[in-house]
């Protein structure tokens, strides 16, 4: 096999590859179109429901393992993490300029922040008490 045919083969492979990559791009585009929220309204519901049901089971098993002595900290910390809805508030408060929606988002950010900081700090205070007494008991 001489150098010339080798170069020809290489060129053929290169064109093949570039065609393939084009196809891949097209495919990726199709996939992204397929999963845009415009068409994903119902599919997301199914995905979300799957996640929701599985998370309920995870929650069920995790929470039963919580020792009864720590039920108050459990309430405080679940309260704090339920404020993860701040994610929704941030998206509402995110855009530039002012409108009603943004005002609501801003208020929700404030409320959720009270909860996040308050919830975590009060949980920390409680846990501090439990570990402090742990040291004394030992």
């Amino acid at each position: 096999m001489d150098a010339h045919t080798l170069a020809e083969d290489a060129a053929a492979v290169a064109t093949g590859a570039s065609q393939l990559s084009l196809q891949a791009q097209e495919l990726a585009l199709n996939i992204s179109q397929f999963t845009t929220p415009e068409t994903a309204g119902m599919p997301f519901f199914v995905v979300g429901l799957t996640v929701f049901v599985l998370a309920c089971f995870v929650g069920y098993y995790v929470v039963w393992r919580v020792t009864p002595a720590l039920h108050s900290p459990l309430m405080a910390v679940t309260n704090a993490i339920s404020s993860v809805i701040i994610v929704g508030a941030l998206i509402a408060a995110g855009p530039e300029g002012w409108n009603f929606s943004k005002l609501l988002g801003f208020l929700a950010v404030v409320l959720a922040s009270v909860n996040i900081f308050g919830g975590f700090i009060v949980t920390h205070r409680m846990l501090q008490m439990f570990s402090k007494k742990k040291k004394q008991g030992a």
Binding site: G41, C56, R65, A93, L111, N115, F130
Partner: protein
């Protein structure tokens, strides 16, 4: 940040939240768990801030600073005895935030990719309506619960004729409005749902009595989780769905444990009316002619000093009197005298799950000395003294003997089988459930009438002599 990266970051954040709950399985791992929780939350916030649509950082930082400042101050200042109110107040904030977010999504659906104004996907509308309704019920329900716990509203259940009919009718109206919203997408209907849900939140909490508050606080905890999950469906965000489901499950399990602690079904609690006039006058008449032995702090000190083991049964009265520190001093004094001292915690003692454990922890009571009902109940018969402080209904033998009693079947701490029962109480009145306690009239019971804290101080003084 590409969308895939932010979705993965949300996944990590969800796992962190699961780890936060997992850590609470024991006091040693709890703090690590908390760190996971904080980390997960920080990651979620930062990831969201880096999303393409979010750019007005000034406002957002201002909002977080205001909210964070308020939250920090409240959380640092709050007395541990006021914890149930605080938690109720915090639940109300989650509820209201959920309402605001759903409303923001309704008025600006483009920001959330759920359609255009006036043309929101029907699935999203249903999810939005559910999220906003649960959020609104959580908000007003928690506000009423806060009022009851704080003593701003009467703890007595408020029951009126046709209450259940009215609630059912309002529930039906709510469903109708949700359908109407899906058909018309009118803003008026949306806000109608919000206000109707506010009203329902108030109506479902007012008939519930003070004794059932632990169930209510847990139930609202659960609702705040479901509200978050509802918002998660609206915003198509798995993080919110996962965390909402975790919190919802957690609150539901706590409600179940509390109901079991009172031997009542969840529906029985929700339908309300417990602890009002219902508790019969017959029992009161039957017991009132028997003599009651009333002792002093000196008597109590003498009995306990000469005992070999004492079990302390704390209740909400201890929290009200802020007696936990003095109580622990008293226990230390007894331990110095060679008395074995332990604490027995009933699942529904206090006004929220685990309330007593936190108060005793605050007073530096060793973790090992504090035992749950199942662990310690059998030991009462081998115990010389049961020291009941600020508890009442959870020790009432009527729960075992009197099928007519409203608390019949509720698991109680068997204090009456101890050698002597010392019962610290303000007066001979009935407990929160409005039921007389025949234990007061038992031969081995000695009543110590007075403020819980003052009584403990008196006992300490008497022991020092």
């Amino acid at each position: 940040m590409p969308i895939t990266v932010s979705l993965l970051a949300y996944l990590v954040s969800s796992v962190c939240c699961i780890m936060a709950l997992r850590g609470l399985s024991g006091p040693n791992t709890a703090k690590n768990g908390l760190m996971f929780g904080i980390g997960g939350m920080a990651l979620a916030v930062v990831t969201t801030l880096l999303l393409p649509g979010v750019s007005s950082y000034g406002m957002i930082i201002l909002g977080i600073a205001i909210g964070g400042g308020i939250g920090t101050i409240i959380a640092k200042k709050i007395e541990m005895t006021a914890l149930p109110q605080l938690v109720a107040a915090f639940h109300s904030l989650v509820g209201l935030a959920a309402v605001f977010i759903a409303a923001a999504a309704f008025h600006n659906p483009e920001a959330y990719n759920i359609g255009k104004q006036g043309d929101i996907h029907i699935g999203s509308l249903i999810e939005m309506a559910l999220g906003v309704a649960i959020g609104a019920v959580t908000f007003t329900g928690s506000v009423v619960a806060f009022g009851k716990l704080q003593g701003l509203v009467t703890g007595k259940p408020l029951v009126f004729k046709g209450q259940h009919m009215l609630n059912a009718a309002l529930g039906g109206l709510l469903l109708f409005l949700i359908v109407l919203l899906c058909l018309t997408e009118s803003a008026a209907v949306f806000w109608g749902i919000v206000f109707l849900s506010f009203l329902i939140g108030v109506l479902i909490i007012i008939p519930i009595g003070g004794a059932d508050m632990p169930v209510i606080v847990s139930m609202l905890n659960s609702y705040s989780g479901w509200a978050a999950a509802g918002i998660g469906f609206t915003l198509q965000n798995n993080l919110l769905i996962i965390v909402g489901a975790l919190v919802g499950a957690s609150g539901a399990i706590l409600s179940y444990i509390m109901c079991k602690g009172m031997n009542r079904s969840f529906f029985n609690v929700i339908l309300g009316g417990f602890g009002g006039e219902a508790a019969g006058g017959a029992a009161a008449a039957a017991v009132s002619d028997k003599p009651v032995k009333i002792g002093s702090a000196e008597d109590a000190a003498f009995i306990m000093k000469n005992a070999s083991s004492v079990i302390i049964v704390p209740g909400y009265g201890m929290a009200v009197a802020q007696a936990q520190h003095t109580l622990r001093e008293m226990a230390d004094q007894l331990k110095k005298e060679g008395v074995k001292v332990r604490y027995a915690i009933h699942p529904v003692a206090g006004r929220m799950p685990g309330h007593m454990n936190v108060l005793l922890a605050e007073a530096n009571v060793p973790y090992e000395d504090v035992l749950e009902l199942e662990e310690i109940n059998r030991d009462f018969s081998q115990t010389d003294v049961a020291f009941v402080i600020g508890a009442n209904d959870i020790t009432n033998p009527a729960a075992k003997k009197d099928p007519a009693s409203p608390i019949y079947g509720m698991p109680i701490l068997d204090v009456e089988s101890a050698g002597t029962v010392l019962f610290v109480k303000r007066s001979l009145g009935s407990g929160y459930a409005g039921i007389d306690n025949e234990l007061f009239f038992y031969d081995n019971t000695m009543m110590l009438l007075g403020d819980a804290k003052a009584m403990c101080e008196g006992i300490i003084r008497a022991m020092e002599h």
